[in-house]
């Protein structure tokens, strides 16, 4: 497995693969890899000749008030995991290598106006920009993103389509702890007491899955899920929302394919979870 820390090295390695006609799968990550990332890398390994994992804690998707400084890091452990799964290249640039006096950016309207985009106004501009850069640097045939970050996945799919990037964007299922908590690098922030409280998000997802039905009022669905979250004293709900699966705009009734997503603070840690619902065909 090779490790590249400069854009030039990463381009050089991936361009040689392209010239040989090899397919490339990219798994963009911010590091501190867990089983969720591992599932993405494993799938990339099965579906491509070459696998690139980017490990880059992208500063421009964090607001100054957010957790960039305390975000966990363990690059040696990340490399071991990538090597075990059989990645060919880990791309690990530092922020100065990725951003020299940057002025250009990629962004998206509508899909970024709701949920995490409303709560984190610069977040998706930073995501769209870094993912575009990673696509241009590594020229993947396939890219893999977790469905835990469902709005991010919808946004990446849409900007790839709108800007004609030659990349297939693949969403992969949420990987969970035995008690249902979605795997996340941010779970390390939780105290033991908070960690015990955190599966309340999954219980709200389960409640939502049980009761969702065609033509249900979204407000009724959201209220029942919020009631589950309210049973946990450590949980402070930021949003629970049913949105159109493509546009990320709130729906009034469950009359199309939807994403039902939530953000909840457990102590100071902001956790997200979601499920997708496809309307049965008539």
């Amino acid at each position: 497995m090779q490790i590249a820390t400069t854009v030039a090295e990463a381009k050089h390695i991936t361009r040689a693969w392209k010239r040989e006609g090899q397919t490339i799968g990219l798994v963009p990550t911010m590091g501190y890899l867990h089983e969720g990332h591992a599932s993405l890398i494993e799938r990339a390994r099965r579906e491509n000749d070459r696998v690139v994992v980017s490990v880059f804690l992208n500063p421009i998707q964090f607001a100054p008030t957010e957790d960039l400084d305390r975000y966990p890091r363990d690059f040696d452990r990340d490399c071991k995991l990538c090597e075990e799964i059989g990645a060919d290249l880990v791309f690990h640039p530092d922020p100065a290598e990725m951003y020299h006096d940057p002025h250009a950016y990629v962004n998206i309207d509508l899909l970024s106006d709701t949920m995490d985009g409303a709560a984190r106004p610069i977040h998706f501009k930073g995501v769209c920009t870094v993912v575009s850069k990673l696509f241009n640097i590594t020229q993947p045939d396939n890219a893999y993103f977790g469905q835990k970050d469902a709005q991010q996945l919808a946004i990446v799919k849409k900007f790839v389509e709108d800007l004609n990037f030659d990349v297939k964007v693949n969403g992969c299922p949420i990987v969970r702890e035995p008690d249902g908590l979605a795997k996340s690098s941010r779970n390390t922030y939780l105290s033991p007491e908070e960690r015990a409280a955190a599966p309340v998000l999954f219980r709200a997802v389960q409640r939502g899955r049980e009761i969702i039905a065609p033509n249900m009022k979204a407000s009724e669905l959201e209220a029942q899920m919020k009631a589950v979250l309210a049973e946990e004293p450590l949980a402070d709900t930021e949003y629970v929302t049913a949105v159109d699966a493509l546009t990320m705009q709130p729906v009034e009734t469950i009359d199309r394919n939807v994403l039902v997503a939530m953000a909840v603070r457990i102590g100071t840690t902001r956790l997200i979870d979601n499920f997708s619902y496809e309307l049965p065909r008539a």
Copy 2:
């Protein structure tokens, strides 16, 4: 010479060339080609195995008040010119093929805040977005832009660098009529009387070139160029500005490499012209 009207066709043709290891030169145009465009296509022909000319009147770089509807078109004549010079592919999509419910975009700050960006607030967002799309669709090794649109050229170079596009951006000299008027599709808007007045822009460029010198006050340079423009009763000067060649920000003194650019209305027709000045090395 092939003509593609869909993104899928253009990708299919250019991807086959890439697989064969052929280099591709792209000349993005809005059509109604003149000798300025011809010089770009000729240079692309000399420097690449394959030449793509895009002919696409990009609606998203025009404000509703601007001249999209009256912009001149003659696709048959454009194709003849491309074929004569030896282009391999003309990409001529319609707006609906390029934009299906678009929400993602590419944009740039700082460089787009001045001059044409100040006068035309959505213009460079539309340019960055369509050029990014054309790069992704045709995957050129080289792209060719005229120095007449000098701010556009600086912006494209910067977004290519910032977003790591694998394209070399080449600026090509302004092509002029015998009386000095820079070639432009918009020159067709001019009445005979206005056409006779229009070379005043070039006379202002010439005056600027004669008097510019290291450590000159930019205000003095601009005033002398504006005085030339003021001699022509049909000319209404929008701006004459000396800016840093890289950042497009106004300078106070000529103490670095600069672009000196102007926009002038002749009747209702907005014309632009410019020259670049490199500071002599100490």
